[in-house]
Symmetry: C2
Subunit: 139 residues, 2 copies
DNA sequence: CTGGTGATCAGTAACCATTCCTGTTTCCGA
DNA sequence: TCGGAAACAGGAATGGTTACTGATCACCAG
């Protein structure tokens, strides 16, 4: 996503695009996988050693709130972040912790069915998938 | 589930049915909702004040391993346990934390599709649903 | 240019669910 | 009954995340 678009999304919710928030976005695009907050922190720190881990958490939270960043949470593991905010499926290896995408699975209809079967106002429906990655299965 | 069945399932994995594990099961059936480990601990403690929280965690872990207890995990909230080990959908209110069941949603097919679209050996696929419960929506 | 105001930040302490550790008790088979 | 393994109580430790505090920064009005 382009910088002006991000700036506009932040502005609409009363936030500004600070250098730290921009650095977090750059780190996310560099990481290319599904980094944790700490992973992002380490990347940001390479260019800006004075940044604080708490700032990274807060930046990620703001960026998620305005819809620029997505997050996924597996038990017994830190929350993972990425720039792909479209609904998609990720799987995490229970041995090595690696996270990768599961292509070709559409969950759009499921969320609709859920909405029709609960009096709750659904705000989020995520599939959490775990397994053994090929490398860990072999060893 | 009947006590002899539980005992048999434990025995098959080399565990025994101790009084603490039985107390944890009783607490789960008393709680009737989706209690956290601490909720279970508080119920167990009413009858057995010397029980330790760590013991409850370990008992829940063993009981889950042998397939008597199920668990679900939402971000920013402790893990919830229940005696329903069949695949089913639970939704958690993001304001009050209440967890309740979403009936009438079958996810059996989804797991099969996931297996066919990833080289991982899938061990677990859970849907994590959040929203606002009717009471919190009104207020 | 200058001072004021609120958002943001760095640094660090605190929090909380969960796990780990240690010495003790309980349970089961011989 | 005895010996060894499993399980336990109590409490310390862990680790991801949040909260707090004072310092900075960006921006605007005068």
């Amino acid at each position: 996503m382009l910088v002006p678009d991000v700036r506009e999304k932040l502005r609409r919710s009363g936030y500004t695009l600070t250098s730290q928030r921009r650095a977090v976005l750059e780190a996310l695009s560099k990481a290319k996988g599904h980094p944790s907050a700490e992973d992002v922190y380490l990347i940001v720190k390479r260019e800006n050693p004075r940044v604080a881990l708490g700032t990274v958490y807060q930046a990620l939270s703001v960026l998620e709130e305005v819809g620029v960043v997505g997050s996924k949470h597996w038990a017994e593991s830190p929350t993972r972040y990425d720039l792909n905010v479209e609904p998609h499926l990720d799987i995490r290896c229970i041995r090595c912790g690696e996270v990768s995408e599961v292509p070709g699975v559409a969950l759009g209809g499921v969320e609709e069915i859920i909405r029709n079967n609960t009096p709750y106002r659904v705000t989020r429906a995520t599939m959490v998938v775990e397994g053994l990655c090929p490398a860990c299965t072999d060893s």
